[in-house]
């Protein structure tokens, strides 16, 4: 039974038709020729960057094409049936009974008009797996197993009444309820905060193990997939790069691309000693949006010349608000900001042009950080004109220098943002910040919208620029791996408060406070067995309390 093959996909081809405005429809090949198989009770991790075709391929395992996606060639054998040939009625009998699906955004995947229980038991009832009472019983047991609070009551709630992490667990329960042979997990933890992610991940893993269901687990994060998979399949541009056991892929990847994925975020950065003259001192800053509830409470940090302060926290920690307070977009209610020995005015309008020039900002979404109607030349050139009055020849020359600094040729100068890739856009934003010759650049989650390898390139560029130009960074992120790679000092924030602050070596060394401990231990590590270690140590810790 255990060695029996459950799913066998042969020579799968996936196409989609796209309709570019004003042009003829084009056929796009998403997956050219892909084969894989899965044994009963096994978990296959499918990994790749955005656009690698991983979700599309996994959904094809249910013979489903999202949007205009077609499956023109290949075979998908599930339990002795070729799903691509059985016809609609038979396919409906398979979906929701033999194969179930867990979507990335449970918030969108639940129907807002029905209770959770109605939706969880729907497939079981539809396929006549069991009667309603049995199904509800089963659902409650699954809620319990997945660690949901009030397992016998939560089913009466509506989707908008529970949190994102809980909803993701309910969705897993929904997939498990009809006791299928196979579940497709489509990035089930990507939208969650890092400390929530680990709990959901552990719950999913336990549930898979206890029920003996097979699974395809899709993610862009190799460290996550390494925790739950028996085998891993690496995809790129719709083609198979490497397929092996989880152990082999993580510990001895054969292909160059896989090696790069495994060693991602392994940038080594030697911590620099703080100087006596910080470039920026944030003193006792308290800030609130409109009303009276402070989103920043009494924050004091310093940034030293040529160094990086990483500000770490989850959503709602106030880390981006700190950036807005420093730039003057949200004048602090209390406290001062000293920059280069002088006190900056709290409000943006009262700051001098030099104050503005010396603090620059780079945003998370490079797409919306650049005016889509301006060329790269205008985007980079404007600060040069505005602050340094550069014109003509001198302006062009400086623009080219900046483009070279960000490792892009001057051929890019006359392109529009829409004609650049994600990584290139972020590089142009870096050049725009550099153009002002700032002393401090605030980087707000600059790598979190990028694929891991591209993000690594951006981090390396930022470190190079720091070494060359001596600029300081305030690096806002939720990703501790990034912090380790780039920071000299670290500030950990939680619900508007500074929980822990100091040089990197001290912040990342025990003894930890509870929150930092939780945060640090939640970052997925690129090795097998990490999840078990963490959950075990957490259980021990909570048992000790």
């Amino acid at each position: 039974m255990a060695d029996e093959t459950l799913l066998e996909v042969c020579n799968l081809r996936i196409e989609a038709t796209v309709y570019p405005p004003g042009e003829k429809p084009q056929t796009l090949v998403i997956v050219k020729d892909l084969s894989w198989s899965l044994k009963r009770g096994q978990v296959l991790g499918i990994i790749g960057e955005s656009g690698a075709g991983k979700s599309t391929a996994a959904l094809a395992g249910m013979a489903y094409g999202r949007g205009g996606v077609r499956l023109p060639a290949g075979e998908v054998w599930l339990d002795g049936q070729n799903l691509l040939a059985v016809g609609k009625a038979a396919l409906r009998n398979v979906r929701g009974r033999k194969v179930c699906y867990v979507a990335q955004s449970a918030a969108a995947a639940f129907n807002p008009a029905h209770t959770l229980m109605d939706q969880v038991v729907e497939a079981s009832l539809l396929h006549g797996v069991c009667n309603r009472a049995t199904a509800e019983n089963r659902a409650i047991r699954l809620f319990e197993k997945l660690g949901l609070p009030n397992p016998d009551k939560i089913g009466d709630r509506y989707p908008h009444q529970v949190s994102g992490g809980q909803l993701q667990r309910v969705m897993t329960a929904m997939a498990l309820c009809p006791e299928p042979d196979l579940i497709v997990f489509d990035e089930p933890t990507t939208a969650l905060d890092v400390t929530t992610q680990i709990d959901v991940l552990a719950a999913i893993k336990d549930a898979i193990r206890d029920t003996g269901v097979a699974a395809m687990y899709i993610t862009h994060d190799l460290a996550v997939v390494a925790q739950v998979s028996d085998e891993i399949m690496v995809l790129r541009h719709g083609e198979l790069v490497e397929h092996g056991t989880a152990k082999q892929i993580i510990e001895s990847p054969r292909e160059e691309y896989t090696q790069a994925l495994v060693s991602v975020r392994s940038i080594e950065h030697e911590e620099k000693k703080p100087s006596t003259q910080p470039v920026m001192k944030v003193k006792n800053v308290t800030a609130a949006y409109g009303g009276t509830i402070d989103v920043l409470k009494d924050i004091s940090v310093e940034i030293h010349p040529g160094q990086t302060l990483a500000v770490v926290g989850e959503s709602g920690s106030g880390k981006s608000t700190l950036a807005r307070a420093i730039t003057g977009l949200l004048p602090p209610r209390k406290g001062t900001i000293e920059f280069d020995g002088r006190t900056l005015s709290n409000a943006l309008a009262q700051r001098s042009r030099d104050d503005l020039r010396e603090v620059q900002m780079i945003y998370q979404m490079a797409d919306v950080a650049m005016n889509p109607r301006q060329t790269v030349r205008t985007i980079i050139g404007r600060p040069l004109q505005f602050y340094f009055d550069l014109k003509g020849e001198a302006l062009d020359q400086r623009i080219n220098e900046l483009l070279e600094e960000i490792e892009m040729g001057d051929g890019f100068a006359d392109r529009y943002p829409a004609e650049l890739s994600g990584g290139q856009k972020q590089r142009v934003c870096i050049a725009r910040a550099l153009a002002a010759k700032p002393k401090l650049i605030i980087c707000d989650e600059v790598t979190s919208a990028l694929d891991p390898l591209v993000a690594d390139g951006i981090l390396k560029l930022l470190l190079d620029l720091q070494a060359r130009e001596g600029v300081s960074y305030m690096f806002i992120t939720h990703d501790l791996a990034t912090v380790k790679a780039i920071a000299d000092s670290i500030a950990v924030m939680f619900q508007g408060e500074l929980v822990r602050y100091g040089p990197k070596s001290e912040v990342l060394a025990p003894p930890f406070d509870d929150y930092t401990d939780l945060l640090l231990s939640s970052v997925p590590q690129m090795r097998l067995g990490w999840l078990e270690e963490v959950t075990k140590s957490r259980r021990m810790a909570s048992g000790g309390n």
């Binding site: 309709y19 929701g96 995947a109 729907e122 509506y158 908008h160």
Partner: protein, 319 residues
């Protein structure tokens, strides 16, 4: 149902009432404060100053504007809309009959256009991107650009004059048999239907597409539900509110479209009544008609809003 929802609905009702009051001020101000003198326009250019002054005091025009507004509003609340300047008849009585005729016409136009629009909208979604969808959207684009009288006279020319299937003039009178009445309003009702159909269908299509492309519909498909079940259980509960909204907005649009259509078919409704008295500069009638039209318009918009509130599960089941 949560109390929060009731608060919102009551708020919306009060807002509608407030809006109606504000609109009455606006309509009153629009006719009273702007240049032009009712008395002068009644008596014409040959009027003597004494006659003018007499008429002014008869009409209460020598009173300050706010006083006149409140006495007008007071009358309104008691169902007294005053008398027409042009013929001295009681406005409430003439208006009541004509409002009945207009609503009769609008009702039958709605009865034809709403199911047709929803059906065509569904069809466009079902065959999205294929020729039925393209055909429907092409016709939509065209018919949005057509003036009401073009459709109206085209129908009269071909259906009433050339083939003589239906009457070209929609005469209705009291005691008329129901079937004859229906026959009389057939052409104007068809015209109105064509005027609002395109809009309603386009908006219905967008509303349904929005729901059909949502992740929860995909979830339902992946549970193995049949297309019919997906629509019945998962799309329908979420699509009702936007469709009702669309329908209400278009009924509001239809009630306004009635004005021109009634003139085309010489139909004795509110629109015809309003237009006649604008030409005669009979201000009290114009005010009354304007307020009734605006009231119906505001009411339909309010119903649309309340339906949207009622069908929002976030409001129905608060945290």
């Amino acid at each position: 149902m949560g109390s929060g929802l009731w608060t919102l609905i009551i708020q919306r009702l009060l807002m509608g009432l407030g809006l109606l009051l504000a609109v009455s001020v606006l309509i009153f101000a629009g006719t009273q404060i702007l240049p032009g003198d009712v008395a002068a326009s009644i008596l014409g250019q040959s009027a003597t100053p004494e006659a003018l002054a007499n008429l002014r005091s008869d009409l209460g025009l020598d009173q300050p504007a706010w006083k006149r507004y409140f006495s007008w509003l007071g009358g309104l609340l008691q169902g007294d809309l005053g008398t027409a300047l042009s013929n001295g008849k009681d406005i409430s009585a003439s208006l009541g009959k004509r409002l009945g005729n207009t609503l009769f016409l609008a009702f039958w136009a709605a009865l034809m256009s709403v199911p047709l629009a929803i059906l065509l909208g569904l069809l466009a979604v079902r065959y999205r991107g294929r020729w039925p969808d393209k055909l429907i959207s092409g016709i939509t684009l065209t018919s949005i650009s057509l003036p009401e009288f073009f459709i109206g006279y085209l129908l009269i020319y071909f259906i009433a004059v050339k083939t003589q299937w239906l009457p070209s003039v929609s005469t209705v009178y009291e005691g008329m048999a129901f079937a004859d009445r229906l026959k009389a309003i057939a052409l104007p009702a068809i015209t109105l239907t064509m005027v609002v159909l395109a809009h309603m269908m386009r908006m219905t299509r967008a509303a349904i597409l929005n729901v059909m492309q949502s992740a929860y519909v995909e979830t339902a498909e992946l549970k193995g539900l049949s297309a019919f079940e997906v629509i019945r259980k998962h799309a329908f509960p979420n699509v009702i509110a936007p469709i009702v909204n669309v329908v209400m907005l278009n009924l509001a649009f239809l009630v306004v479209g009635v004005v021109v259509v009634e003139v085309i078919f010489v139909y004795p409704g509110m629109g015809q009544y309003l237009v006649d008295h604008v030409a005669k500069r009979d201000v009290p009638v114009v005010q009354a008609c304007g307020l009734v039209f605006a009231g119906v318009y505001i009411l339909l918009n309010m119903v649309a809003d309340i339906v949207a509130l009622l069908s929002n599960p976030r409001l129905r089941h608060p945290k």
